[in-house]
C-alpha cells in the first residue's frame, strides 16, 4: 500500500471525495481562528503600531506562494519520470492558487511597507523576488493554456517549472545582491517570520499559517478533481466528434 495508488485517477477521486471536505473545514476553522485572534486580540507592536496585524496575512501567503511552487516542481518531476496524469494535473491545479498567494503576499507586503518605508514599492529584495515569482506563475499558467495537446502541455510546463525553479533561486540571490546597498541592516517587517516574533503574536500566526496551508491543500484537491473530470470530458467530446 504505497502513495502511488493515488496516481490512479479513480482511486484519487474516491479518496479525495471524503478528504476534501475535511481539509476544507479544517482550513476554515484555522483561518477564522488565526485571523480573528490576530486581528482583534493581539496588541500593537512597539515600532510598527497596528500594521503588525498584517503579518497574519503576509507571512502565511508568502510561505504558501513558495510552497506552491515547490509542490508544482515535485509534481512536475513525478510526471516527467512516472507519467502519472494525476501528478501533472495537480501541478496545473496548484498554479492559480500559488499565483493568488503571491499576489496577496505582494499587496500585503507593499501595503505594510508603505508606512514603514514611505513608499509602496521600494524594490526591497524579498518583495522583488515575489514579483519575479509572480511572473513565473503567469508564464507557467500561460503555457498550459497555449498548448493544444494536453500531454505535450504537461511535458513542456514541467520542464519550464524545473528550469524556472533554478532561476527563481538564482534570482533570489541576484536580487539580494542588487539591493544590498540600500537596505542592509534594516529590519524589514517581512523578515521577522516566526522566529524573532514575540510569543503573543506567534500563536495566531502559526494558526494562520496552518490555515493557509490547509486551504492550499483543499483548493488543490478540488481543482485537481476538476482537472481530472475536465480531461475525461475532453476525451468524451473528442470521441463524439470522431464518431460523427
Amino acid at each position: 500500500m504505497s502513495i502511488w495508488k493515488y496516481a490512479n485517477p479513480m482511486q484519487f477521486m474516491r479518496s479525495t471525495e471524503w478528504l476534501l471536505p475535511i481539509f476544507a473545514y479544517a482550513a476554515a476553522a484555522c483561518l477564522v481562528t488565526g485571523l480573528v485572534w490576530g486581528f482583534f486580540f493581539t496588541p500593537d507592536d512597539f515600532r510598527q503600531g497596528s500594521t503588525v496585524k498584517i503579518i497574519y496575512l503576509h507571512v502565511p501567503s508568502a510561505l504558501m506562494a513558495i510552497n506552491a511552487w515547490f509542490m508544482m516542481l515535485l509534481a512536475s518531476l513525478i510526471w516527467l519520470i512516472r507519467r502519472h496524469h494525476v501528478s501533472a494535473l495537480a501541478a496545473r491545479a496548484a498554479a492559480p492558487v500559488g499565483l493568488a498567494m503571491t499576489v496577496i503576499a505582494l499587496f500585503t507586503g507593499a501595503i505594510w511597507g508603505e508606512p514603514m518605508w514611505g513608499t509602496y514599492w521600494a524594490w526591497d529584495p524579498r518583495l522583488t523576488s515575489f514579483l519575479i515569482l509572480f511572473l513565473f506563475y503567469l508564464g507557467y499558467i500561460a503555457l498550459w493554456q497555449a498548448i493544444e495537446t494536453q500531454d505535450t502541455a504537461a511535458d513542456l510546463t514541467s520542464i519550464l517549472c524545473l528550469v524556472g525553479s533554478v532561476f527563481a533561486v538564482l534570482s533570489r540571490y541576484a536580487v539580494n545582491f542588487w539591493n544590498q546597498g540600500l537596505h542592509q541592516g534594516t529590519s524589514v517587517p517581512v523578515a521577522t517570520g516566526g522566529r524573532s516574533v514575540a510569543d503573543v503574536f506567534f500563536v495566531p500566526l502559526v494558526i494562520s499559517m496552518i490555515g493557509f496551508g490547509l486551504l492550499f491543500v483543499a483548493l488543490v484537491l478540488l481543482r485537481t478533481r476538476t482537472e481530472i473530470r475536465h480531461r475525461r470530458l475532453r476525451a468524451l467530446l473528442a470521441r463524439e466528434r470522431a464518431a460523427q
Binding site: 476534501l20 503600531g49 498584517i54 499587496f107 476538476t226 467530446l237
Partner: protein, 62 residues
C-alpha cells in the same frame, strides 16, 4: 469591537480587504469551475453511455 488601529487603520484594513477578496476570489472561482465541469461531464456521459451496464464509475459525486 473593532480594535483601535490608530493612524495605520487605512493600511491594515485595506490589507485585510485585499487579501480576503483575493482568497474569496480563488475559492469562488475554483468551486464554480468544479461545478461547471462536473455538470458538463454528467451531460456528456449521459449522452454517450445510456446503457446500465456502463462501467463508468467516473461520475463519482462531489
Amino acid at each position: 469591537m473593532m480594535p483601535d488601529l490608530g493612524k495605520y487603520a487605512d493600511a491594515v484594513l485595506s490589507a485585510y480587504a485585499v487579501s480576503l477578496l483575493l482568497l474569496a476570489a480563488i475559492i469562488v472561482i475554483s468551486i464554480w469551475r468544479a461545478k461547471a465541469i462536473k455538470r458538463q461531464l454528467a451531460e456528456v456521459e449521459a449522452r454517450s453511455a445510456p446503457s446500465p451496464a456502463s462501467s463508468s464509475d467516473k461520475s463519482v459525486d462531489t
